[in-house]
C-alpha cells in the first residue's frame, strides 16, 4: 500500500493490484482490530483526507483504486463491529429518551480503568506512552466529527458547531484542544509533530481513530458520528481529572496538565449539548437514525474498552503498550 502511494498517481503501476491484495489480506486476518496491516493501511487511506503525507501525490485522495480497496476494509470493519457491539434496544426515538439512554450507557463504572491506573500507579514512562497512544487522535482532535457538520440541519447542526467551536478554541489558536495536547506532549519531552509516532502505535489504537474517520467521512454514518461524539464527551470529564492527577503526581507543571484540566470543564458542557441537542435532537428529526446513533455511542465505548484492555494488560505485565517490532 505505502509503496503504491509513494509513486505519482499518473501511470502508477500497482494501483490495480490494491483491491485483490486487500481481499487477500482481509481473508487471512484473524482479528481486524488488532491487525497491523489492515489498520495502518486504512489509517493511511484516511489520512489522505486530512493532511496527506509529504512526498505522496495529493491526487491519491480520490483515486478510484484506493477508494475501492478502502471500501473492502470498511465493509469488513463495519461487519466486525456490528457482530460485537451491543446496542441498547427499545429506546424511544425522542430527544430526551435518547439522551437518557446515552447517559445510562456511559455511566461511570467502578473497577480497573486506564484513568485510575494513570492517577495512582503509572510510571513516567507509562504516562509518555499514554500520550503517544493518544496523539494519533488528539493532535487532530475534533476533526473526524467535524465532517458531519454539512450533513446536519437545524438544532443538531448548531449543537455540533457549538461543541466544535469550543474544541477549536473559540477563535483562539492557543486554546485549540489539539494545540493544548501538543503542549502537554512537549511538557513531557515528546515530539508533538503531527504523525511523529504513527509507526509505534498499535493497531487497536489506530482502529479507534479509523472508526471515527469511517463514521465522519460517510454521510450515511452521520447518526453514528453524533452518537460517537456524545459517548466520547460523556466519558471524558471524570477520567481527565484522573489523567491530570497522574501527571501532577509526577511533578509535571500546570502547562503540561492544562489539556486535562481544560477537558474536565469543557466536556462537562459538551456532554450536555451532545446528548440532547446533537444526538437526541437528530433522532427526533430523523427517527430512522436511532440505531445508528446508539451504535456510534456503543462502538465508541467498545473500542475504548479494547484499547484500555491492551494498555492495562501491557502495563500490568511490565511491558510497553507500544509496538516494539
Amino acid at each position: 500500500m505505502t509503496e503504491v502511494l509513494s509513486t505519482p498517481l499518473d501511470g502508477a503501476a500497482g494501483a490495480g493490484e490494491l483491491a485483490p491484495l486487500t481481499r487477500r489480506v482481509l481473508a487471512h486476518s484473524v482479528d481486524l482490530l488488532s491487525d497491523e496491516d489492515v489498520q495502518l493501511t486504512l489509517y493511511v487511506m484516511y489520512e489522505l483526507f486530512y493532511r496527506g503525507f509529504e512526498g505522496v501525490d495529493d491526487d491519491w485522495e480520490w483515486a478510484p483504486e484506493v477508494l475501492g480497496a478502502r471500501r473492502l476494509i470498511e465493509s469488513a470493519l463495519e461487519q466486525h463491529l456490528s457482530e460485537r457491539v451491543d446496542v441498547p434496544e427499545e429506546i424511544a426515538p425522542e430527544r430526551g429518551a435518547v439522551a437518557e439512554a446515552l447517559f445510562a450507557l456511559t455511566a461511570p463504572s467502578p473497577g480497573p480503568s486506564v484513568a485510575r491506573y494513570v492517577a495512582k500507579r503509572a510510571s513516567q514512562e507509562q504516562l509518555r506512552e499514554l500520550l503517544v497512544q493518544r496523539s494519533v487522535y488528539q493532535l487532530k482532535e475534533a476533526d473526524p466529527h467535524t465532517w458531519a457538520i454539512p450533513r446536519l440541519v437545524g438544532r443538531p447542526k448548531s449543537a455540533l458547531v457549538e461543541i466544535q467551536a469550543d474544541e477549536y478554541g473559540g477563535g483562539d489558536p492557543e486554546r485549540m484542544h489539539c494545540e493544548l495536547f501538543a503542549r502537554t506532549m512537549r511538557g513531557a519531552a515528546l515530539d508533538a509533530e503531527y504523525g511523529a509516532y504513527i509507526e509505534q502505535v498499535p493497531a487497536v489504537t489506530l482502529a479507534g481513530v479509523n472508526v471515527m474517520s469511517l463514521f465522519g467521512l460517510h454521510r450515511r454514518w452521520r447518526g453514528a458520528t453524533a452518537g460517537h461524539l456524545a459517548a466520547f464527551e460523556m466519558t471524558s470529564s471524570l477520567p481527565n481529572r484522573l489523567y491530570g492527577d497522574g501527571f501532577r503526581r509526577h511533578g509535571f507543571d500546570q502547562g503540561t496538565t492544562e489539556y486535562f484540566d481544560e477537558h474536565v470543564e469543557a466536556d462537562a458542557v459538551h456532554e450536555q449539548i451532545a446528548g440532547r441537542d446533537l444526538a437526541g435532537a437528530l433522532v427526533q428529526q430523523e427517527p430512522e437514525l436511532l440505531h445508528d446513533v446508539l451504535f456510534g455511542a456503543a462502538t465508541c465505548l467498545y473500542l475504548d474498552e479494547v484499547v484500555g484492555e491492551h494498555l492495562l494488560t501491557a502495563w500490568d505485565a511490565g511491558v510497553s503498550s507500544l509496538r516494539t517490532a
Partner: protein, 75 residues
C-alpha cells in the same frame, strides 16, 4: 491573556439563556458575568459554561461531571 481579550468574547453580547439540564448542571450562554460573592469576576474560558448544581464539583462554580458519579437527581 484575560478572558475579555479573547477573540470569542469581542463579539456583540448574545442574549443570555439558562438551561437546567435534567439531573445535571445549568448551562449558561450569552452575555453574563459570573462573579464570586464579593463581586470579583470568575474566569470564563468558553462561551457556553456549565454551572454545578449537585454541589460536588471540584471546580465550582463549574461542573466537572461529578453529578453522574454521585447519582445526583435534580428536584
Amino acid at each position: 491573556m484575560t478572558a475579555s481579550d479573547r477573540p470569542a468574547d469581542r463579539r456583540p453580547g448574545r442574549t443570555p439563556s439558562i438551561v437546567a439540564c435534567p439531573d445535571g448542571p445549568i448551562l449558561v450562554r450569552g452575555d453574563v458575568t459570573i462573579t464570586d460573592d464579593t463581586g470579583q469576576p470568575i474566569p470564563r474560558r468558553r462561551s457556553t459554561v456549565a454551572l454545578c448544581r449537585c454541589g460536588a464539583s471540584a471546580i465550582k462554580p463549574y461542573c466537572d461531571g461529578t453529578h453522574k458519579a454521585i447519582g445526583f437527581t435534580a428536584p
